[in-house]
């Protein structure tokens, strides 16, 4: 009886689509993962700071759900790099309990200030390890 009751509660976390683009920083010479320290990572149209004083080789950045593009700003001690991404959004009602979910697809690099950026996967999915590779 208890099991039946438990099964009736939907796990909405698994039903809702992810909204973060996964970025890996790679060494431009040997292609290995390189930890990069950013003073902060921000985006246009929001006051939120995505990361602050962080050193990582992989970052996850949430896309703006209200627009079809997001511009990220990567603050370093020696300057600022930008990455402008375009994408499509598709909303679907998962269930009455879980509500709507936005799926992001057709991700494209509009412009950037890095030396080299490669798009590996143009959609967001939990199973993917990365969407973009930035050679540093």
């Amino acid at each position: 009886m208890l099991c039946v009751a438990c099964n009736n509660i939907p796990d909405c976390r698994n039903e809702i689509e992810p909204n973060a683009v996964k970025i890996s920083f790679l060494d431009k010479e040997d292609g290995s993962l390189v930890p990069i320290k950013f003073d902060s990572i921000r985006a246009l149209n929001t006051d939120s700071i995505f990361y602050q004083d962080t050193t990582l080789s992989k970052y996850e950045l949430n896309l703006d759900p209200s627009l079809n593009r997001t511009s990220f700003l990567f603050y370093l001690s020696q300057g600022v790099d930008t990455l402008d991404l375009g994408y499509l959004r598709n909303v679907a009602v998962v269930s009455e309990e879980c509500g709507p979910s936005i799926a992001f697809s057709s991700i494209a690099i509009n412009k950037h200030s890095f030396d080299s950026v490669a798009l590996k996967n143009d959609f967001l999915d939990r199973s993917l390890s990365e969407n973009l590779e930035i050679y540093y």
Partner: protein, 266 residues
């Protein structure tokens, strides 16, 4: 006595030379006989329509009365062509799902049209069981409004809308229509909806298709219950049930039954 018995038996079995064998029918005669027989047994087909049935779907009406956020009104009309019925269903459906965070609504009209085949054409009550096929099309729109807390992006209000959506599908049907009074029929239809296609949507994936159900399913099942009123405009008798052909027994091929037990008891 024995001699008499053998003589009688021999006379029954072997035709004498004096009695000529009946001549076999020629091919033409056989064909003529067959045609004549078919004419006698064939039920005349009458494809001239005689009655229109108009109906109202009751399950949708029941759901409309009992559940909030759902409205459905569906009618049906059919006309007879011999044992075939041309059927049209026309409906309107409005469906909404809402909670504190979101409101999704879906609104549209649909029609289905096709043929029903009466599998009981000789029923004196004109009640019948049928199989049928339909082509269906839905024209609808939907929209969603929701407010959510998107992590780094804070609380955002998002709205998407689809106008002029179309969906088409095909149906295989079976069901029954039972005469309950002079002009009134009750009937149900079981539907298997398949080969759905939908176009016209952009950022919002429709959740429901009016008349079809869940848009995410490539095939769907359905059940409808109708109350139908008949409007006859021509007298059309129920065709007589054709008699099945009984195989005629050939007396010569049957083993002859002894007429006199005494004759076999020697």
């Amino acid at each position: 006595m024995l001699t008499v018995c053998f003589a009688v038996f021999a006379q029954e079995k072997e035709p004498t030379l004096a009695e000529p064998k009946p001549e076999a029918d020629s091919e033409e005669q056989v064909k003529e006989k067959k045609d004549e027989k078919e004419k006698k047994e064939k039920v005349p087909r009458d494809f001239k329509p005689s009655v229109v049935k108009l109906g109202l779907e009751t399950i949708g009406l029941g759901r409309t009365a009992t559940s909030s956020g759902f409205t459905q009104l569906e009618g049906q009309a059919d006309i007879d062509f011999d044992r075939y019925f041309f059927v049209v269903d026309l409906g309107h459906e409005k469906n909404s799902i809402a909670n504190d965070e979101f409101n999704y609504s879906n609104n549209g009209t649909y029609f289905r049209t096709g043929i029903q085949i009466n599998m009981m054409p000789y029923n004196q009550d004109r009640s019948f069981f049928f199989f049928g096929f339909r082509y269906a099309r839905s024209l609808f729109s939907d929209e969603i409004e929701f407010i959510d807390d998107f992590d780094k992006w804070g609380q955002k209000s998002i709205e998407f809308k689809n106008n002029n959506l179309t969906a088409t599908w095909y149906e295989v049907n079976m069901g029954m229509k039972v005469k309950v009074s002079e002009r009134l029929y009750f009937g149900y239809t079981v539907r298997y909806k398949l080969n759905k296609s939908m176009k016209g949507f952009d950022n919002l994936t429709p959740r429901n298709i009016p008349g079809y159900g869940r848009a995410g399913k490539s095939s769907n099942a359905g059940f409808n219950y109708y109350i139908l009123y008949t409007i006859p405009f021509r007298d059309k008798p129920v065709p007589p049930k054709p008699k099945r052909e009984h195989r005629e027994r050939n007396p010569s091929s049957e083993p002859s039954q002894p007429t006199d037990l005494f004759q076999r008891s020697f």
